[in-house]
């Protein structure tokens, strides 16, 4: 139970700046997801909070105390790694008990805490097994268990689900979120998967090239992206971007419209040719190409008519759903 505050945190490797100053303030018990493409510095940011990377400048505070110069073990955090980082030569029990044993916790308490975590994660029957005898999902749970037993102030997750198959990922997503709520622990979760960010986050931080483009609640970020990058990164399929040229407008303002807000209509002034369509069952994604090569995607109900490939159609949208971006990518 703790707050976590990052103030103007920067990181450089030699002369290369990786993180250009990030400030976030995380409330007690809040689940914050940091999302961004690979190489945006999100993992580095998490590792700085963990104490595995030095902080070039700025401050990291956990519960009001500055932890910049503290060792990872003194920061009262627990981390779940992408490859789980289980100790391969120890049983599941020993993996979870390792931190407690080092802290010289009494034997009875260790057993009680591990048993509690094992029950929470349905690992009770696996306690004597070695990690190599477990499936990917079970290993993931052990890594979670190792974090839980230590009762840390802050949970750190570094892409914990990216090594799991799609189905398990959806299941674990819900479990992690439920567990975090039940334990009421503050959590910082790094992922490149915008669906994970949308579904798990209380608030999310969208990172791009070492900068936090936007911090906000998932639906708020989705409805009101602050930059062109956020509009393109959050949401699947991504937002359609149209230049002023093709819309026949003056100036250099770019327009973004989400696929579900784009309508096919014969009266639409923007003309495009249907390239191909993907039928997903409940909906169909129609991909079109404008005269200048700009790709546009329209999300259609399965029941509605789908234009023939190669046919020219008009595109239309409610001006209220239009997002405008200046040449630097900022909302205007």
């Amino acid at each position: 139970m703790a707050t976590l505050t990052l103030s103007n945190v920067k990181k450089s490797f030699g002369k290369t700046d990786v993180i250009h100053g990030i400030s976030i303030s995380v409330e007690d018990g809040e689940f914050i997801v940091i999302v961004g493409p690979s190489g945006c510095g999100k993992s580095t940011l998490l590792r700085m909070v963990a104490g595995l990377e030095t902080i070039t400048s700025g401050d990291v505070q956990i519960d009001g105390r500055r932890v910049n110069d503290q060792e990872p073990m003194d920061r009262d955090i627990a981390m779940v790694f992408q490859n789980y980082a289980l100790y391969p030569h120890m049983s599941v029990f020993d993996n979870m008990a390792y931190g407690l044993k080092i802290a010289r916790t009494p034997r009875a308490e260790i057993e009680e805490r591990v048993a509690h975590a094992a029950k929470l994660l349905q690992l009770e029957t696996f306690l004597q097994r070695k990690p190599r005898e477990l499936s990917g999902g079970q290993r993931q749970r052990v890594a979670m268990g190792r974090a839980i037993v230590r009762k840390p102030a802050v949970f750190l997750f570094d892409e914990p689900l990216s090594n799991l198959d799609a189905k398990l990922r959806v299941q674990m997503r819900l479990e992690i979120k439920a567990l975090q709520r039940e334990l009421g622990v503050t959590a910082l979760y790094v992922t490149h998967d915008q669906v994970e960010a949308m579904t798990m986050a209380d608030r999310m931080v969208v990172m791009n090239g070492g900068i936090a483009d936007q911090v906000g609640e998932p639906l708020e970020v989705y409805a009101n992206p602050a930059t062109e990058f956020v509009a393109g990164f959050i949401g699947s399929p991504p937002t359609n971007f149209l230049s002023a040229d093709i819309l026949g407008r003056s100036g250099d303002t770019k327009v973004g419209v989400r696929p579900e807000h784009t309508r096919l209509s014969d009266s639409g002034s923007l003309r495009a040719r249907a390239a191909y369509s993907e039928a997903l069952g409940a909906e169909t994604l129609v991909h079109l190409k404008c005269a200048d090569g700009t790709q546009v995607t329209v999300r259609q109900d399965a029941a509605s008519t789908i234009p023939q490939e190669g046919n020219e159609v008009g595109l239309d949208w409610d001006p209220a759903n239009e997002m405008r971006f200046d040449p630097s990518g900022r909302r205007c």
Binding site: A50, G51, L52, E71, P72, M73, I77, A78, M79, F81, Q82, N83, A85, L86, Y87, P88, H89, Y98, G99, I102, A103, R146, R150
Partner: protein, 293 residues
Amino acid sequence: MEKRVKFKGLWLPILLVLPQFLITAIFFFYPAGQAIWQSLFIPDPFGLSMQWVGLGNFEFLLADRYYRASFLTTAVFSILVTVVSMGVALYLAVLADRLVKGSGTYRTLLIWPYAVAPAVAGVLWLFMFNTRVGVVTWYLGLLGYDWNHVLNEGEAMGLVVVASAWGRISYNFLFFLAGLQAIPRSVIEAAAIDGAHFWTRFRTIVFPLLSPTTFFLLVVNIIYSFFETFGVIHTITSGGPQQATTILVYKVYADGFVGQDLGSSAAQSVILLAIVSLLTVIQFKYIERRVHY
């Protein structure tokens, strides 16, 4: 997927196996067989006749005070060489593993001694510790210590151990470094977050994960110290003073080629062969159980 080649005739497979078979036969089975055969005879001093003595050579050896002393010398010597060479190598490997800048240079320099032949290494150390003109001896003299491995048994043993272990450190270092770098970084980081300081991490995580490497090196180093250290001992002490550094393999040479007692020498080779086989079997049977793969 099975990738098994099926040969039509019998000649090609025999031809393919032949080189390896010939090498093993000529350089191992033939001399080993000859040693066993010779160990049952006593040849006359001129090599003109051989007299059958059955196990007489063995009986004589096992009753021999000097031969039994040589067992103890070998045990002390090989334990010291193995511990020193592996210990120093592990220490250096741990340091090199933490190094970010200049690790290439560091590694290259550490590997060089491996290229020095044992006999040459022996001569190098002999020069440094020469009782009259040795550099180290001179400095020790300044400090008031009178180094003389020609007379002092302990100093002689120390010198051959250091000289034998020195070249071996490079080899062990390479394997330890590779073993250390095979341990995922995140496992170490997880332990650091779990509250383990460097030494605790080393004891509870790194060393157990390194155990396959350590086990392999243990077997290889003991065999090395039994046989390949001959050159070092021959150049530095010739087994002296008072047989203090006469390990089993050196005694095989000394009794056979210097003492001209070829029957006894052959019998010693057979005993040595049996000991090394036994040691290796024991190592694989008992120590390997404690290894985490």
